[in-house]
Symmetry: C2
Subunit: 231 residues, 2 copies
């Protein structure tokens, strides 16, 4: 792994403040692998053998039941996923696949659990990360239960515009059908939601959205820090 990537890894909340030997060993024990797009990394109901860290590319966490499927989360660098299953030595609740070419660091679950017991700072970092993930999931549930599809899209636009550092515009870098699934709707419905937002300050043209009237968009979206806040 390149030095700059090791440094980026160090920046993970999960590795914040942990002892150098712990970090070094965890990384050394990990397998760093390239994957092409569309590869299934883990399958729901499999035992959690590895903690996965996305070094490069985009990974989709998804879930399915009774022939239906939905996107649960998109993980980008540098982000870890499926921590909870690894910790309690349980099966995965979600499946994961690469959306793009991706580089993934896979750390054996057993090694994570061992260091957790030995390095108090690591344990503490894990607790913080778990609490964050938990709260994120609660927010996602609120988002889904309390808002319509168009409102979810509007709030997503506001969040992503901020993340991308372009208050007046959003560039979509994933397929719209994946975005639709993440936002809990069908692709057709997403198209219509975009059309609805055209009347509320957001003009869509392909993968580019111009937020021409931020105030109108916010009025429609009703952003709520207890749902949309980054934390």
């Amino acid at each position: 792994m390149r030095a700059e990537e090791t440094a980026a890894l160090r920046g993970l909340r999960l590795f914040e403040g942990i002892a150098e030997p712990t970090f070094t060993d965890l990384v050394a024990a990990g397998y760093l692998q390239f994957f092409p797009p569309g590869v299934t990394l883990i399958r729901a109901s499999d035992p959690a053998d590895f903690l996965h860290v996305v070094i490069e590319g985009v990974v989709e966490l998804y879930a399915a039941t009774a022939g239906r499927e939905t996107t649960m989360e998109l993980v980008r660098p540098v982000g870890a996923f499926i921590l909870a299953a690894v910790l309690s030595d349980q099966v995965y609740l979600q499946s994961a696949r690469t959306l793009t070419r991706a580089r993934i660091l896979m750390i054996p679950a057993e090694r994570v659990r061992r260091w957790m017991a030995q390095d108090a700072a690591f344990m503490s970092a894990i607790t913080v990360e778990l609490a964050r993930g938990y709260r994120q999931a609660i927010k996602a549930l609120k988002n889904q239960k309390l808002r319509t599809a168009a409102e979810r899209l509007a709030n997503w636009l506001i969040i992503v515009a901020a993340e991308q550092g372009t208050p007046g515009a959003v560039e979509i870098d994933i397929e719209k059908r994946v975005l639709a699934s993440r936002l809990g709707m069908t692709p057709e419905n997403l198209s219509r939601a975009f059309a609805t937002l055209a009347g509320h300050g957001a003009q869509t043209r392909g993968t580019h959205i111009d937020i021409t009237d931020p105030a109108a968009l916010r009025a429609f979206a009703n952003p709520d820090p207890l749902i949309d806040g980054p934390e």
Copy 2:
């Protein structure tokens, strides 16, 4: 607190295996209080000052935005709630109110954080509990995104029949409008969902449901351990 209640508290996953002095001090530091029904215990966006433990009664966790409200979870004895906010010293994402007369043990957040840093077993128990809560939230999100209202009700019936130890029947001990909100629908829609299930092996009469044809109910519900499993 009565001895049997202290014993019940000890049975909480959160206090499993922790040192006696830790447990004793946490309980001693806590305020044990009675509340009548309908009392708001905590409000979303307030700072998390206490870890709450339900000793007796039923507590509803709920969330609201833009004039809409939804029930997130029902907490029964002996159960702790809003652990994640307490740990990271953040605001609550959910509000809580008593549904019945209730007895609540409130442990100062600061005390929880202090013992967490000093008692490795406590920290470990917290991690396990957090992971459990996280996974529970993921399951709730899958339930909401992947199922229709009637399916959610059917699966809820199957779960609760097992919990109540009566495979052929379910007794509802909360208001139906609260149940409707928990399952992500309106009270009217819940009534109709019950009517639908009458054709799939579940006969409702007031607060009592007879599961006359378990196989038919399961066929309709499509229970999935990765959503409905107790874990």
